[in-house]
Subunit: 347 residues, 2 copies
Amino acid sequence: MTQSARKRRGSGRTTLHNVAELAGVSAMTVSRYFSNKESVRLDMQQRIAAAIEQTGYVRNVFAGSLASARGRCVGMVIPHIAGGVYEETIQAVTDTLRPFGYQLLLASSNYSTEEEEAAVRAFIGWAPAALILTGQKRSRKTTELLANAGVPVVETWAHKTRPQHIQVGFSNPSVGKDSTHYLYERGYRRIVFVHPPRTDDVGANDRASGYEAAMHELGLAPATFRPQATVLLDAGAEAFRTLTSGRTPADALIFSNDNLAAGALLHGLRERIAIAQTCAVMGFGDLSIADKLVPSLTTVRPPRYEMGRIAALRVIELLRAIEEDAPTDAIERDNLLTYEIVERESA
Amino acid sequence: MTQSARKRRGSGRTTLHNVAELAGVSAMTVSRYFSNKESVRLDMQQRIAAAIEQTGYVRNVFAGSLASARGRCVGMVIPHIAGGVYEETIQAVTDTLRPFGYQLLLASSNYSTEEEEAAVRAFIGWAPAALILTGQKRSRKTTELLANAGVPVVETWAHKTRPQHIQVGFSNPSVGKDSTHYLYERGYRRIVFVHPPRTDDVGANDRASGYEAAMHELGLAPATFRPQATVLLDAGAEAFRTLTSGRTPADALIFSNDNLAAGALLHGLRERIAIAQTCAVMGFGDLSIADKLVPSLTTVRPPRYEMGRIAALRVIELLRAIEEDAPTDAIERDNLLTYEIVERESA
DNA sequence: CTGTTAGCGCATTCAG
DNA sequence: CTGAATGCGCTAACAG
């Protein structure tokens, strides 16, 4: 009776062995059943299925991942959960990953490289099959961490000229440039770019630099404005108020995002200012409210869902290639997606 | 030379043993360092810290969780990622859990009990320390699964009279009732409740039943409307158009959420209808746009952040109690939070 | 305060 | 197609 003293270990939950015993097969066969049903004989499949049903067995992810050294999860770091910007991308990643059995681990960096580093560090402990990062600046430490862990990385919402990882994104500078040209062609000349309150939104900064480049090309003087208000809707109103008054008011505003632009339009409504006649307004994002505003908002629609979908697809392809020891050259590393200027009433 | 054949196992990453070796201590000491720094001598702490720094070691969550049979994660199932309704709650849960080292696993059920069941099943495999569910209906299977796994559950965005689990929420029927009384006191009598397009939003249905009860108490005939349009902003516009025309137009509308109400207000703006004079509009949610609309939206503010914070706190308390083998009676199981009617211009 | 021993539940490996 | 042995990396339990 050496086994009588029950050690206080184990979760007490049903294990693979319990199921195997009940089904009258070995644990290994049940394990195979989970990874590939077809690899076990039909009658065993049925007995195993019955045993699983009866016990309510759920595979312990930890044990499996530990044994195979591959976590069945994908980590994703986005700048901010709230705001509606990344929702569709998250949804797309979830949708695309789910059929392959990967769980999404989500973290938000709050636009901070330190928090991003913390999130990446936390994720690495989960031995994720891959990480999806959004196109922010990265701390050197984060880069080291990533290299050290050897986790495949896909960057999205980014398009760099010398990418370190697979990237899926669109060109923010081009958005800035195209928006500027769009307004120029419609006769606007005193075009001002409105920054978000926070200075560390890299995408916004890139759009601003595209704007500045375009203005120079066109022989115009670029001018930017950064509101004080931190709530985006208020910040947009502040920008509109400030930039349409004074001696040389702007005749067109490029807002770095739709929330800012919406703030401007709603401010105009409240103050009974005829926006379109006073000053053209352009946004970025094409949030769902954009076409409902009065006037409806002319804006740029980034491929939000598509970025998530492609990013997840590349992850799947990459993992499959690694698994099959196939070359990863066939995987498109530079995925440049297109955005679209949506012409409406505000510009 | 029995060890010479390198098995193709292991991740190749730095392990606890590597760190221990480098620091000249045992693996156990390093393990203790992670769970409680103070429990190892100061000089060892420093040597260990140096070794960790040098190797870029990150603890393997799987191995730890497997050994201790406790996953360092908390699963959360919400009805829908997009829409802005649950953002703050998610953020609150993340914020509250982070200091305790728990990772949030997020899944969306898309308002479907089957998808919820799938999510719960997936989560259970992660041996989560706890699950946070939102107050939807649950399939019997899900309930079984939960009972079987023995995972502590906290329900939020719900307040049932006979809760099975710890619950953190507010009373949806009361919201419906109070909104009705609010309008009644202001002289409105032909009050109609506008449902969301989807029939399975339990919270909305509960608010509707509160509305109906209140109308009966007040001796008025309740009337509800469910739009055809699936996009919420459009559905709101449709409801407003339909209900303010005809022989006995409504004089006040209670929308089951702010997105619907916003659709009505934006429709009014576009059609140049003076909303407040035509028909009062009330929403639910107090989304950030509510006070920026014209007219600004009278609505009900649920304790979005607070629900997440309290839910996560209860989880922490519960886990601590379980860990210390303390009684869990001291933990408040029925957390009824308050909402607030926010009076603005639209009603 | 520190080390030793054993095993968490599964998948890999190899042998039938 | 199936089974037995082995160990993934860590921590609980116990002994010093």
